[in-house]
């Protein structure tokens, strides 16, 4: 897959080392996997259930 960001080196890096996909996915997984900057429960960018009184 190519990255359409205008930096050819990024795609070159992938061609030379396909393993970076897994490394990259794992690196960002904790933040991204199933997460959104707005939760389904909130209109304000945070989940009210996580707030302390």
């Amino acid at each position: 897959m190519t990255y359409s960001g205008g930096n050819a080196s990024v795609d070159f890096a992938l061609r030379n080392n396909p393993g970076i996909v897994k490394t990259g996915a794992l690196a960002v997984e904790g933040s991204l996997d199933g997460n959104y900057s707005v939760t389904p429960d909130s209109e304000y960018g945070f989940n009210p259930a996580t707030l302390e009184a």
Partner: protein, 191 residues
């Protein structure tokens, strides 16, 4: 997207001077059908639950979308924090490719808001490429999620054309066949 701001003398300020450049076709590249394209694309995306969430992210964080005349890449610009879509000037509707590119850009914006940033490429290109591809993979998975959720909608067949247009057919096929993460990594790297 064409916006004007009227000052006290009645003179209308346009472009970047009128509204900080966030809602305008401030330069001649602005697309004449931008509003229709954005509206239609968002309506299609919002038919899916994942798409609805991405639209909510967009609305809450007030991320500007600009459609410009051109044939180049679309996406979220992390410096300006604006989503740019490019479409030829004759385009009047949200073509499938544009809808999918908007899904991807919405997710890219979401990633940025969550604080997932790429390191400086000048310091470590491989680290930069690694994160960029990790983020790109996540965005493409979101395209697949939305399209899969729209399987029974009237937009589905044209969205599949868009998937093919963008070169994601093999990846989408793996996704809907419940490929493991490792299999998706391989397909991403190979295609």
């Amino acid at each position: 997207m064409n916006s004007e701001t009227e000052n006290s003398s009645g003179y209308k300020l346009q472009g970047a001077f009128g509204d900080k450049g966030t809602q305008v076709n401030s330069i001649g590249y602005g697309h004449p059908h931008a509003e229709d394209i954005i509206k239609e694309a968002k309506e299609i995306i919002a038919e899916s639950s994942t798409g609805k969430l991405l639209i909510k992210v967009h609305n809450v964080h007030n991320i500007p979308i600009q459609v410009i005349k051109g044939t180049g890449d679309s996406g979220f610009n992390t410096d300006s924090r604006i989503i740019y879509l490019q479409a030829p000037g004759k385009t009047k509707r949200a073509e499938p490719k544009l809808v999918l590119q908007l899904i991807k850009a919405l997710r890219e914006a979401d990633q940025d808001i969550m604080g997932v940033k790429a390191p400086n490429p000048e310091e470590d290109l491989m680290a930069y490429a690694t994160v960029i591809h990790g983020k790109n993979l996540d965005s493409i998975i979101h395209i697949c999620k939305v399209v899969k959720e729209l399987t029974n909608s009237s937009s589905f067949s044209i969205l599949l054309e868009g998937i093919a247009d963008l070169g994601y057919s093999k990846f989408y096929k793996a996704y809907i066949n419940d490929a493991t993460k490792d299999e998706l990594f391989d397909v991403y790297a190979e295609t």
